[in-house]
Symmetry: C2
Subunit: 226 residues, 2 copies
Amino acid sequence: MIRKPGILAKNLGLVFNHPQIFALALTHRSIGSNNNERLEYLGDSILGFVIADKLYEMFPEADEGDLSRLRSNLVNQTSLAELAREHNIGDYLILGSGELKSGGYRRDSILSDALEAIMGALLQDQGIEASKNWILSIFVNKLARLDLSSYKKDPKTELQELMQSKKVELPHYELIKMTGSAHSQTFNIQCTTLIMSESTTGSGVSRKKAEQGSAEKMLELIKAKK
Amino acid sequence: MIRKPGILAKNLGLVFNHPQIFALALTHRSIGSNNNERLEYLGDSILGFVIADKLYEMFPEADEGDLSRLRSNLVNQTSLAELAREHNIGDYLILGSGELKSGGYRRDSILSDALEAIMGALLQDQGIEASKNWILSIFVNKLARLDLSSYKKDPKTELQELMQSKKVELPHYELIKMTGSAHSQTFNIQCTTLIMSESTTGSGVSRKKAEQGSAEKMLELIKAKK
């Protein structure tokens, strides 16, 4: 059963001036050369921009690495396919018979491409502001659930990468003291690097936590010196 | 000698409502944590979008692969550094003493990042339309010089990739005839593929040209059947 694109547009809260461009956005390349690939290219670019801009505003404390990680987490294929499924986009795809038989309307790549193509079609039909508003509206829940802290690198990883970028030996962590009784021990770890004369220490209920603490202090030290 | 950002802004045809964000765009991370990296992230995203949108409009016949190649050719580090040099952006960079000594103001990566950061600053200061217009204005010569044909894949490569994507054996090229005298020969090549019952032939003054011609005809045949 072929469902009418107009119903999907309505469900998505969209009214197209040129309904044919919306239909094109749903047309997979298995149909022929008049397909949604150009619109997908366009949609991908406005999506990337709109999300980058929004994250910049939402997280004034995030550095560009955090922002990139947040963005790629929102606009990757899995995330887009999820949004496409929420809106039943698969039911409205226009697929060649081969893709139809093999269940292409369920495939992440096809769903994600179609969603991006819809964004491209909207941009062509109604301009930047309308596309931006619609993109933000369908991402509203994903954006609300974002938690910057979960995209931060842990301090040990960050310190290690910093050393690698400076092409010096990796940080050295050494257990300098253990305190407390057998069941409530505290580890004290010293972190040393070749780029700072000072060492830092961290303590915690596990060796790992103490190492992270010492790495965090080392990062602060390095940043203060910059 | 430190040159005033205001002079650069004027040379770039820009008047900022908040001059401090423009100064931030020129501030390299060697200065400290208040630097242009977030603005670069933002600028990179609007640049990618503006150029994608422009190419979509300029080349209605280009497929998404061509458009991607065209775009990455325009917005890569070398191309952006070239634009930065044209506008003497290096003279206005705010660099830490280490970068200053080692000639950071001449480095492609630093120049290209600063140009993107200026785009991000303009977006923050004046919104999407103003940024879009300015980006297009500085790319006007590069855009005018674009030639789609130089970004097209040659037919043999395109045909080979098509066969690979369909997971069938690669095309077969066979010399079927040579005509002409020793110093002005014409090669006639036949192209056969497993997905089409017909063969195609191409002719040319070299074997390679004849192969390309036969591949081009095969691609036309395949597209016509789609």
